[in-house]
């Protein structure tokens, strides 16, 4: 097991007291590296916003007109 996976398992154990339940769980832990990469790729692509945006407001703002 690599350093990354060991670190993830330790984090989950420390913060939640949960151990890997099975081998597929250990395998899927490695996919968090892809999650981090995906977030890295989005850095700088979206503008800073002064106010939090409401998703519900966005649904209404983009809705189909009757």
């Amino acid at each position: 097991m690599g350093v990354f996976e060991t670190s993830v398992e330790a984090t989950i154990a420390r913060w939640f007291g949960i151990k890997p339940p099975n081998k597929p769980a250990k395998r899927l832990t490695t996919e968090l590296a892809a999650t981090i990469k995906a977030f890295e790729a989005l850095r700088g692509t979206l503008a800073f916003e002064d106010e939090p945006s409401s998703f519900e407001a966005a649904l209404l703002a983009t809705k189909e007109d009757a």
Binding site: I18, P21, E31, T35, E49, S53, A58, K63, E64
Partner: protein, 475 residues
């Protein structure tokens, strides 16, 4: 042989209303199929026959007394086993809840009861609504009525399989990443995921509260329209439900697609698609253009952001709901369920907040670019031919099985993060005899529009009427 169980929900309701059939006759017609085929399909996990017959008799007596309750009067139903009915079993597909009897009734169940429907069974489902295949460790896998070794799609596996096998006229499913549209596609029925907030989730087992949706699986778009009209609308018990007015959705289905602009994504949604699936979609587009629609093809924007953020939201929101059981009894879950939840505990809160805070701006940017050009998007619901249960069995399969498993929902997940309404309608069969689904997506609260397109398509095709071979031996 076709019979009373083969008709649509609307036909069933109309027959009861007109006295041309009784509710009890409908119920018994459904049970004839259920008794013959459920041992193979495994769509039903519990039944309440005595109570159902009493409800049917009461519905018939009400008709005789000219006291029809509403547009679903006398229609027997069965739902995914995560819709709470006070005092009744609601297993959520899990050993951890095999004896759970909630103290509340889901608003959608109550609204359908107020419209005259009644429930006779609980339907198989993925454990805690968490797989796209129909595997279930506790109640047994659900099998596709079209070809038994193949997946039904999930997580509303029993909903898709039971409607296809004519055990009922309609079933509620839930859709967090495709769980209505996938079983609709795989089982050859029609499934509608409404706009996020369109339908109350009160009394419904939660999975990811930002992405969870309630909706119908039925034979036709028109059936889905009728059910949506009954269940949609604000619910004080679910403050997240929308105050938007609820139209009579059936009125949108007029067969006229003149002026309707269809967009076909050229990126993501056909990556790795199988040829029979692409051919079925192209044939469906010809049907739609024959009704007056126009088609344009272009790249959808922001798909990387939608995939990254959407994946975060679903995984993080499921994690705390299951934390106690993941600590105390992790082996009670199927391995693929606990394995997929496990990494969710390591995702930083800042990622989750970023994913949620970007959701509105991403939707606005997506809608401005896409719905400025077209009215609806069309894609395959599942981009490959259906895999078998064995090919997607993470619990017992080799490493890498999870990739085939996750590919099933690749075309449906994006629209949960975006919160858009989407419908799947049958549009053909793959070489293994399994159904292919066409996904039609609209802008927020455009359920009427996508029902109109699906309804027009179904006016010119018969895929949704075809009976699965498993029923061949049923008299």
């Amino acid at each position: 042989m076709a019979g009373l169980a083969d008709i649509t929900l609307i036909q069933a309701a109309d027959m009861v209303a007109s006295g041309n059939a009784t509710s009890l006759e409908l119920l018994h017609a459904c049970w004839a199929n259920l008794d013959a085929v459920n041992p193979q399909v495994n769509a039903i996990i519990w039944q309440e026959r005595e109570q159902a017959e009493a409800a049917a008799n009461a519905a018939d007596e009400a008709v005789q007394n000219k006291q029809r309750r509403g547009p679903l009067h006398g229609v027997p139903m069965a739902h995914k086993d995560m819709y709470y009915q006070a005092g009744k079993l609601s297993t959520c597909g899990s050993a951890l809840r095999k004896d759970f009897r909630p103290s509340v009734t889901a608003t959608v169940i109550q609204r359908m009861a107020d419209a005259g429907a009644y429930t006779f069974a609980g339907l198989n489902m993925a454990e805690f609504a968490q797989n796209p295949t129909g595997h279930n460790k506790t109640f047994g896998d659900c099998h596709n009525p079209w070809n038994l070794p193949y997946i039904t799609g999930g997580s509303s596996s029993g909903s898709g399989a039971s409607v296809a096998a004519r055990f009922n006229y309609m079933a509620l499913g839930s859709d967090t990443g495709g769980s209505i549209r996938l079983p609709a596609s795989a089982c050859g029925v029609t499934g509608l995921k409404p706009t996020q907030t369109r339908v109350s989730r009160y009394g419904v087992m939660p999975l990811s509260f930002s992405h969870d949706n309630v909706g119908p699986l039925a034979r036709t778009a028109r059936d889905c329209a009728r059910v949506l009209t009954v269940i949609a609308g604000h619910d004080p018990l679910d403050p997240t439900s929308s105050h938007e007015p609820v139209p009579r959705y059936e009125s949108f289905i007029d067969g006229d697609l003149r002026g309707v602009r269809i967009g076909v994504p050229t990126n993501v949604f056909l990556d790795g698609a199988d040829e029979p699936v692409v051919a079925a979609m192209e044939a469906a587009l010809l049907v739609l253009t024959g009704r007056g629609a126009t088609v344009s093809r272009f790249e959808l924007p922001l798909m990387d952001a939608v995939a990254a953020y959407g994946g975060i939201v679903s995984r993080v929101e499921a994690a705390p709901i299951h934390a106690e059981w993941m600590r105390s009894d992790p082996q009670a879950y199927g391995a693929h369920i606990s394995a997929r939840m496990y990494p969710g505990y390591a995702i930083p809160a800042a990622y989750y907040v970023e994913a949620l805070s970007r959701r509105g701006p991403v939707l606005k940017a997506f809608a401005a670019e896409v719905f400025g050009k077209v009215d609806v998007l069309v894609t395959p619901t599942i981009r490959t031919c259906l895999p078998t249960l064995e090919e997607t069995d993470i619990d017992h399969g080799p490493p890498g099985t999870e990739h085939k498993f996750m590919a099933i929902s690749a075309n449906t997940r994006p629209f949960n993060y975006l919160g858009l309404p989407a419908i799947s309608t049958p549009c053909g069969f793959d070489p293994n005899g399994c159904p292919i689904g066409l996904q039609i997506v609209g802008r927020p609260f455009a359920e009427g529009r996508i029902l109109k397109v699906a309804g027009a398509y179904q006016s010119d095709t018969n895929w949704h009427w075809t009976r699965p071979p498993v029923l061949a031996a049923v008299a």
